[in-house]
């Protein structure tokens, strides 16, 4: 390769259109032929733009006009904002168009996500508590995830933690799927799944010696019951096209 390039560079040196200084420099350390380098440079820029565009677009929200007054009813109770696709919202056209352009490339290379670690703010954890019952209604399995006693090593625990956390992004539908999975796994006839939020304590509360896992810190957000034979209707069509939960 190096030999091949040297001969080509000799050619470039004799080319009067090429500034002398530049080609003498390129021969000092850079081996590939300029055309080749231009082409690769172009690909590099495209690739890095794609890498940049995915998190950029995912971190960008439409904006309301400055000074926009949110609607309220006669009692001053806030009404829902206009839908996200209404013209009131200012759309971030540049990142949207760019990510749309690079979409398939981003998907193919597993780059279509953001990098929002513990952002915008570190939040409490989601937990899934479950009970599985046999046909007589007796409990045949119970547990929760994540659970340090149950899931080891740490990465395996963490996978369960993420499973619970991403419930928040996917909604109750995922809870129903967990219920069904647990039923099948334990051979039960019905199951009950609780989606629990474990809230965080402030520094003052910890100084006042409230334990981080105090009973009061757990809030049940939803409870899902499943019985064998029922069919779920995943309302997939309503979900956004982009991969959700990208912020984890």
């Amino acid at each position: 390769m190096a030999k091949n390039n040297q001969s080509r560079q000799g050619q470039a040196d004799s080319d009067p259109a090429e500034p002398k200084k530049k080609s003498s420099r390129s021969s000092s350390g850079v081996p590939w032929h300029p055309v080749w380098r231009w082409l690769i440079s172009l690909l590099l820029i495209l690739h890095l733009t794609a890498v940049f565009v995915a998190p950029w677009d995912l971190s960008t929200d439409p904006a309301l006009p400055p000074g926009y007054v949110p609607p309220a009813d006669a009692q001053g109770k806030p009404l829902p904002l206009p839908p996200r696709d209404s013209t009131v919202w200012q759309q971030p056209v540049v990142p949207r168009k760019l990510r749309e352009f690079f979409r398939h490339y981003l998907n193919l290379a597993y780059l279509n996500h953001g990098y929002q670690f513990f952002a915008p703010d570190p939040a409490g954890s989601n937990l899934i508590r479950y009970h599985v019952y046999d046909s007589g209604g007796a409990e045949i399995a119970a547990g929760q995830f994540p659970d340090l006693d149950d899931q080891w090593p740490r990465l395996f625990y963490h996978r369960h933690m993420m499973l619970a956390a991403q419930t928040g992004d996917m909604g109750e539908e995922s809870g129903r799927l967990y219920a069904r999975h647990l039923m099948e796994r334990h051979g039960g006839q019905s199951s009950r799944v609780e989606w629990v939020l474990h809230r965080l304590l402030s520094p003052q509360q910890v100084i006042d010696e409230t334990p981080l896992d105090a009973e009061s810190t757990y809030v049940v957000l939803a409870e899902i019951r499943e019985t064998a034979g029922s069919t779920a209707n995943p309302s997939v069509g309503e979900l956004p096209v982009a991969i959700p939960g990208a912020g984890r």
């Binding site: 850079v30 890498v51 703010d121 990465l155």
Partner: protein, 319 residues
Amino acid sequence: MKRIVADIRSYLAEAWQAWNLFWFSPTDPATLCFLRVLAGAMLFYTHLVWSLDLQAFIGQKGWLPVDFIRGIQGHQWSVWSIFFYIEEPWQLWCVHIFSVLVFLFLMLGLFSRTSAIFGFLLAVSYAHRVSPGAYFGLDKINCMFALYLMLGPCGARYSLDRIWRLRRGDTSPVAPSTSANLAIRLIQLHLCIIYLFSGLAKLLGENWQAGSAVWWAVANYEYQSLSATWLASWPVLVGLATHITVFWELFYCCLVWNRHLRPIVLWIAVVVHLGIAMFMGMITFGLAMLFANLSFLQPATVRRWVDPLADRIALKLTG
């Protein structure tokens, strides 16, 4: 006027020259090879752990059936995974065992380039199967490594391939490689983009702004591995840790390129990621991020620290 044109010409020539030196200078592949060992080990371990409940996480049914995940992903053709098409458990296990072996080979440097290519295809297959569901930052970093390891001679050093060549009597020195440089540069820049958007996202969090975010992170019982709730009495310490994290993430992409600031930037990375590993139990993710930071080590530095160990192992294997 003539002078301005000449100025612009010489600026463009210099910029093109700098661009070429940045991307196309051949470099000793030591850094890339060292990253192959580390990232290969992480990929190996990550996928080994799936074995503990393969059906439930990766199988056709499990916690979140493939149909459901594909629906959430919008049934795009470009979101691909071999696991979307595997029905039978025995097939699943075959692919899984093959994958774990590929990652083991990648770590050891056996058929390195081939292993790297298969490694990338398989890593993305697993990641797409669990996004969303059970994925997190680790999968993003793993796939990033797998992507760029394909590009360079990642088995040129610290590999069974190399020992194999030595045993066959091929003692030619490892040649500097432009593609190794390309791969390293891409890892470096990709890491810069990761930190940039990680920092930008934090700026929008009011607790990151106010300096209390680190508290809410260590107060998370589920993440906690070593309790740091004594920080409750040290708000200034919490504030400093929070602000330094945000500024460091935001400006990593610039500061790491300065010769004088690079050591500081990288040492902050060590403290931050080991802190996350120790206190918040994210050992794998913390290490993966640290590995990515190692891409900024000079090949000479890598060789100074890794060569003695590698030579001892090679000597044992070659007898």
